[in-house]
């Protein structure tokens, strides 16, 4: 893979901003699980701006994949299931392919790409679908019966699937917000 130095530095900078926004809003989840949903949604919407601004710097295939990979590694260090790295790679490659259809500039492909890109977090949910029993017994041991039962009721498999689809939809809304912000703020200032 060959990238220009400018692209690699842009990748690092936008990944840093993405991470700070993502972590800042997801910290709401430490208070209550339901706030985590609100925080994650807000972070997804706002990071649409980050992602779209990042794409204005992209000229080669593979950079979106690398961003997803970096994010996957980061959340794995922060305690997610290691499968996050794999889902991040898959989501990143898919987003890369979609965005490259429009040369990383066209509106519709980039918006869809951001929706798909957001599936990089799905690694956090997938164990709940395929390894549900072991995850639940783990929570039972760690957090107690009450918490585990509440968790089981709140995050049923159907809810998880809705969550995953919702992630893509919220992502596309975020992507659209990002495109709007791009033309409203950054192109006018000559930054895009």
């Amino acid at each position: 893979m060959k990238f220009t130095p400018k692209e690699l530095i842009a990748l690092g900078i936008f990944t840093a901003v993405y991470t700070v926004i993502y972590m800042a809003f997801n910290m709401l989840g430490a208070v209550a699980p339901i706030l985590q949903l609100v925080g994650a949604t807000l972070a997804t919407l706002l990071n649409g701006i980050t992602f779209m601004l990042f794409l204005t710097r992209v000229r080669h295939a593979g950079l979106i994949t690398l961003m997803a990979l970096l994010l996957g590694i980061l959340v794995t260090i922060a305690g997610h299931h290691p499968i996050s790295i794999v889902t991040a790679l898959v989501a990143g490659i898919a987003a890369d392919v979609i965005a490259s259809r429009g040369g990383y500039r066209a509106t519709v492909p980039t918006v869809v790409a951001y929706g798909v890109f957001n599936l990089w977090v799905a690694g956090g949910y997938l164990p709940l679908l395929f390894m549900r029993d072991s995850v639940l017994s783990e929570y039972r041991r760690q957090m107690g019966d009450q918490w585990a039962d509440a968790f089981n009721a709140l995050f049923s498999p159907a809810v998880i699937i809705v969550l995953i689809i919702g992630t893509v939809v919220v992502g596309m809304i975020g992507g659209w917000i990002g495109r709007r912000a791009l033309s409203k703020h950054f192109e006018r200032a000559g930054l895009a």
């Binding site: 900078i13 901003v17 260090i77 922060a78 912000a181």
Partner: protein, 227 residues
């Protein structure tokens, strides 16, 4: 003091152990290791802050365990979670502030990590603290102009408030990125040929000791976890 490679190994391993589903004793061991590291680097104020944090949070958790009932139980779990994430965050803060990006790059060059991974990682590590200070400055500026009300108005217009914060942050990031690119290009980044480094890395006795301690803590964690 310590080599980058042993520090990264220790911090990543202990972070993962603290946050993973292992019995709680592991956090005390990790806390001890972090205190020793802070001692070795003579960071007295940070050491004091860490001890205070540990006493307050673990003390609160211990007090809550004496009580009973669902509300108290949930609160106790929340405090323990907060403690784990604070400890992991303290490790991360230590690594990011104590290790210079040039040392990171030197270590990654030595380990033959390809540039398309090494450069973004180095930039992320260099840039996260900058984004945080910038964010604080933007919040202050917005408050001074009366654009950022109290918590109530933040709750009423979450998107608008966040936009006020995110857009200036990104604009600043774009500018900083252009400067960083120019600076990197001036230093010959992107030129053909093998990269060499000025920074000398020493892997000494202290590093071996640190890694042995980390491995011992990890082995203890998994030994307990298996039973």
């Amino acid at each position: 003091m310590f080599d980058v490679r042993s520090l990264v190994f220790t911090v990543v391993t202990l972070d993962a152990l603290v946050l993973a589903a292992l019995p709680r004793r592991i956090d005390l061991l990790a806390l001890a290791v972090l205190m020793l590291l802070l001692l070795a680097y003579r960071l007295w104020r940070q050491l004091l802050a860490l001890v205070a944090l540990a006493v307050v949070l673990l003390g609160a958790a211990w007090l809550l365990r004496l009580g009973s009932g669902p509300v108290v139980g949930a609160l106790g779990i929340a405090v323990l979670y907060l403690w784990r994430y604070s400890l992991a965050g303290a490790f991360g803060w230590f690594l990011i502030t104590r290790v210079r990006p040039t040392e990171f790059m030197a270590a990654m060059t030595r380990m033959r990590i390809p540039q398309f991974l090494a450069v973004p990682i180095a930039v992320v590590l260099r840039f996260v603290p900058t984004v945080l200070t910038e964010g604080r400055a933007i919040i202050d500026a917005m408050r001074m102009r009366g654009l950022l009300g109290g918590p109530l108005s933040v709750l009423r217009h979450p998107i608008r408030t966040a936009e006020y914060l995110v857009i200036p942050m990104l604009a600043g990031a774009v500018r900083a990125g252009d400067e960083l690119t120019a600076s990197a290009l001036c230093r010959g980044f992107g030129s053909p040929g093998r990269r060499t480094t000025i920074v000398q890395l020493h892997f000494g006795v202290a590093d071996v000791a640190l890694m042995l301690v980390t491995v011992a803590v990890a082995a203890y964690g998994f030994g307990v976890g298996l039973r």
